[in-house]
């Protein structure tokens, strides 16, 4: 029963960390929009903690470039297990329209393991919520 309680709690309280890893802001503001009254992800217990030490869910938007890949890896390593990474937007998935630019390494999955990909340019808030939900299901599978 205790295990079930924890499992239940984990599913109901994913705290998110959002890192803009070089996106055009489009996906970022959609992530932020998720927190606002119209989408209100706090319904699912999600709060933006802004601190890798507290987070369970890592939302990454944007292309990875040579400088921020270090930051990305640092943040990922600082998060305590279990954790889920959601890459958001075309840029986060593959580098998007900037794939061929000289300072772009590529998608987020080149640096850290990505659990859920949310396509879109930019991904809509609904898609981000879907991504989080899918992520949680995966999280549930991983942990239990």
């Amino acid at each position: 029963m205790f295990k079930k309680l924890i499992r239940n709690s984990r599913m109901k309280s994913p705290w998110l960390l959002h890192f803009d890893c070089g996106s055009c802001n489009g996906c970022d503001i959609e992530v932020l929009a998720c927190l606002t009254p119209v989408y209100d992800v706090e319904r699912f217990g999600i709060i933006n903690v802004g601190n890798p030490m507290h987070a369970d869910l890592f939302l990454v938007t944007g292309t990875v470039n040579s400088r921020n890949s270090m930051v990305l890896r640092n943040l990922y390593e600082q998060m305590p297990n279990p954790k889920i990474v959601v890459a958001i937007g075309s840029c986060g998935l593959s580098g998007g329209i900037f794939r061929e630019a000289y300072n772009v390494v590529g998608g987020v999955d080149k640096i850290i393991p990505v659990d859920v990909y949310v396509p879109g340019c930019p991904a809509k808030p609904e898609a981000i919520i879907d991504g989080v939900v899918t992520g949680l299901q995966k999280y549930d599978r991983i942990v239990n």
């Binding site: 998007g96 990909y117 609904e126 919520i129």
Partner: protein
């Protein structure tokens, strides 16, 4: 100091602004630019879309007669749809589903021949 009180009390008493997605879904607006699909039976494999695509995510191989699109690189601009001479490409108003793995759309078409085929089942995992 408490100038905001009336606003929040009004909020407290009135309807919430929240759309309860995913329990209630709102139908998408007409003309919303969502996922890119190809009526491959209409497609002529002319590769205009591949040339026009700003993101260069479409590859057309006329020899192997395949039309490939990297959905994770598509930027949903709709330029290819506008450019398609056969109106084979179109955008659904919904966005593409989230995925746990990388995907690649690879469709087998034929030049100037029309084949009856389902449109949506061409998605294969890489």
């Amino acid at each position: 100091m408490f100038t905001f009180t009336s606003n929040i009390l009004k909020n407290f008493l009135s309807q919430r602004a929240t759309r309860r997605y995913p329990f209630e879904t709102r139908s998408p607006f007409d003309g919303a630019r969502g996922m890119l699909l190809n009526h491959i039976e209409k497609c002529n494999l002319c590769s205009i879309c591949a040339v026009k695509c700003p993101s260069q995510c479409i590859t057309v191989d006329r020899k192997a007669s395949t039309w490939e699109c990297d959905p994770f690189a598509c930027v949903y601009c709709g330029i290819c749809v506008d450019a398609c001479p056969e109106s084979a490409l179109y955008q659904k108003p919904e966005y593409r589903q989230v995925a746990e793995k990388r995907e690649m759309i690879s469709l087998k078409g034929e030049i100037k021949k029309k084949v009856k085929k389902e449109t949506d089942n061409g998605i294969e995992s890489e």
